[in-house]
């Protein structure tokens, strides 16, 4: 039985949920102003570390740990960049936060900046979020007018400026170092790491980049304590998450649930089952870059980091794409590979050349001209992309590709016309 939570989504759907007045009536910004008065940056970083919060953008790195990498005593400005590029296929959760409760995000930005000793934050939003950009900007304007941002906030001596920065339709800008180059106004190719952004990020200065949902969690953790958050859901990956369900279900949408629930129960319960009474075929559990799950795997897996690791996939960005028995898996993976080929930034040869090559081979199979060696070729191209590039975009293409070829091999073979000996 799935129990839905109301932490991040508590104010979604309230009338005028974006207005400062309503947010403050619901107790908003109290934690932030208390923090400015009595908080200690080191203690805040420790609290977030102890809370077990992991980044909600997809990589799942400990947020408090990331914060602790900012060099102590640096004389450079420290920046916070909030990643709202949300472009991973199947993911639409950050958009809910900015369109339904932008002040929750801004309070998180304020507390985070105090904790990492930053006085400038950029909230990077993809330009396709026209409504979200308007709402975040309006909320920032309200916050400035109310003295929540700006100079010497509430007499605390703490200064903070918060700006919206915008993308222009490129998935790669969700990669944190590409995002930095996008904000800097140059071609947004990902950077090599090290140096890590916490040491050398935006404009060469220490920078923390956190996802919108990650930052929205911060006021709740600081208000309720690390132990409260650590006790929600699964032990190794605690908290609630905004799970996005799309594809062939009767009731798609965003569901806030503590980690550790049964994926099958989510589909059968809150999502109202597979659309039109059809049978389930496959689920992509954590955004398009995660490895696909079969019906059997869905039935026996829980949505937490350990269970997902055991089954060879990941929670990623919590974008759950449900595919029913009518889905042509070759066509489905072709759709995804066109995405990666289009979004490859072109910096690294294996990704720039490999992703369109995969598309060509899949198109050949779809058109009925597939060759017996094509499945081995797809796996070989993936082997030559994965782990050989500056960023993880190519890896993100390889994982769904290889897992779909392996788990739905018969569908490829049927199109090629004869069983083929492919693989390693």
């Amino acid at each position: 039985m799935i129990t839905q939570s109301k932490v991040l989504s508590a104010r979604f759907g309230k009338p005028d949920s974006c207005a400062l007045s309503g947010y403050r009536e619901d107790g908003g910004y109290v934690t932030y102003l208390d923090t400015l008065k009595t908080g200690q940056p080191d203690e805040l970083v420790a609290t977030v570390k102890e809370s077990g919060l992991k980044g909600r953008g997809g990589a799942g790195f400990s947020t408090g740990m990331k914060w602790s990498f900012v060099p102590k005593g640096t004389d450079k400005p420290i920046y916070l960049c909030v990643n709202g590029d949300e472009s991973e296929p199947g993911t639409f959760k950050d958009r809910q936060i900015i369109e339904h409760d932008p002040h929750q995000l801004l309070e998180g930005v304020g507390i985070t900046c105090f904790a990492i000793k930053s006085h400038t934050a950029y909230i990077y939003l993809r330009c396709e979020f026209a409504e979200g950009i308007r709402k975040v900007q309006a909320a920032i304007d309200e916050a400035y007018a109310a003295g929540l941002f700006g100079k010497n906030i509430d007499g605390s001596g703490f200064d903070l400026d918060v700006y919206v920065a915008t993308g222009a339709g490129a998935y790669i800008c969700g990669e944190e170092t590409s995002l930095l180059n996008s904000i800097e106004g140059i071609r947004p190719y990902p950077r090599n790491k090290p140096p890590f952004p916490a040491v050398e990020g935006l404009f060469g200065c220490p920078t923390i980049i956190n996802n919108i949902e990650t930052i929205a969690n911060i006021p709740h953790i600081v208000k309720n304590g690390a132990a409260w958050h650590a006790g929600l859901g699964s032990k190794d990956d605690p908290g609630t998450r905004l799970w996005c369900v799309s594809g062939h279900v009767n009731k798609p949408g965003v569901f806030e649930i503590e980690t550790g629930f049964s994926l099958q129960e989510l589909i059968d319960g809150p999502c109202g089952g597979v659309r039109d009474g059809k049978l389930l075929k496959a689920v992509i559990p954590g955004g398009s870059s995660s490895r696909v799950l079969t019906v059997d795997e869905v039935a026996r897996t829980n949505m937490d980091a350990t269970s997902m690791r055991e089954i060879g996939s990941s929670l990623g960005s919590a974008g759950i794409i449900v595919l029913d028995e009518t889905t042509d898996m070759v066509d489905a993976v072709l759709n995804l590979m066109k995405f990666y080929a289009h979004e490859s930034c072109g910096q690294c040869t294996p990704c720039r050349e490999g992703t369109p090559w995969v598309v060509k081979v899949l198109e050949r199979i779809m058109s009925g001209s597939g060759r017996t060696e094509d499945l081995a070729l797809l796996v070989d191209i993936a082997d030559n992309m994965e782990g050989r590039t500056v960023c993880a975009l190519a890896d993100g293409a390889c994982w769904p590709l290889v897992s779909i070829v392996e788990k739905f091999r018969h569908e490829f073979e049927a199109k090629i016309g004869a069983p083929v000996g492919a693989g390693s």
Binding site: P77, E86, S87, E88, P89, G90, T91, F92, D94, R95, R126, C127, E128, F129, A130, E131, D161, Y163, A165, T166, G167, A168, G169, A170, Y171, S182, I183, E184, G185, I186, R187, P188, F203, C244, V245, S246, G247, H248, P252, G253, V254, I284, S288, G319, I321, L323, T327, A332, N335, L336, K338, F339, H342, E343, C345
Partner: protein
């Protein structure tokens, strides 16, 4: 090239960053809002405004799918084609739109009114299929909805 009001808006954007070049993408968005595309003249103007070379501007314009170095129709339609939308009928939606407008991908209608483009995931997967009309999102679309949208665009 731009009104005083627009230039004031651009100057505010530029003041948000320690280096003028960092205002590049937000400035180019305003340029497009005003002129519909990033013409060579506009790119040269932006280069001067941000104290960079025209090539610096062009490198950015040509990178991003939503910055245009060619003139577009008066209204731009972006239809999401990625998996969740595809699973919910975006191919049919595309066929309908493409047929109705008589243009293919990236094509502009003869009267210059509409440019039809596809987009990768628009983060509206739970309300598929979706499109943007002049940057505004429209969800759960039927062919009839699309027809009404086209009529609503002046």
């Amino acid at each position: 090239m731009f009104s005083e009001q627009v230039i004031a808006e651009l100057e505010t954007l530029r003041s948000h960053y320690p280096k003028p070049i960092a205002a590049m993408v937000p400035v180019l968005h305003i340029v497009q809002r005003e002129q519909g595309w990033c013409s060579p003249e506009a790119q040269a103007w932006v280069a001067e405004f941000l104290s960079v070379t025209p090539l610096d501007v062009n490198e950015v314009v040509t990178f991003y799918p939503m910055l245009y170095d060619k003139q577009q129709g008066r209204h731009i339609i972006h239809v999401c084609r990625t998996l969740s939308c595809d699973a919910c009928g975006s191919k049919d939606l595309w066929k309908h739109l493409s047929g109705k407008l008589g243009v293919d991908r990236n094509g502009t209608t003869e009267d210059g009114k509409f440019t039809l483009r596809s987009a990768e995931c628009l983060a509206s997967c739970g309300t598929a299929p979706v499109l943007l009309l002049d940057g505004e999102r429209h969800e759960n679309l039927s062919n009839d909805d699309v027809d009404r949208l086209l009529e609503s665009a002046s």
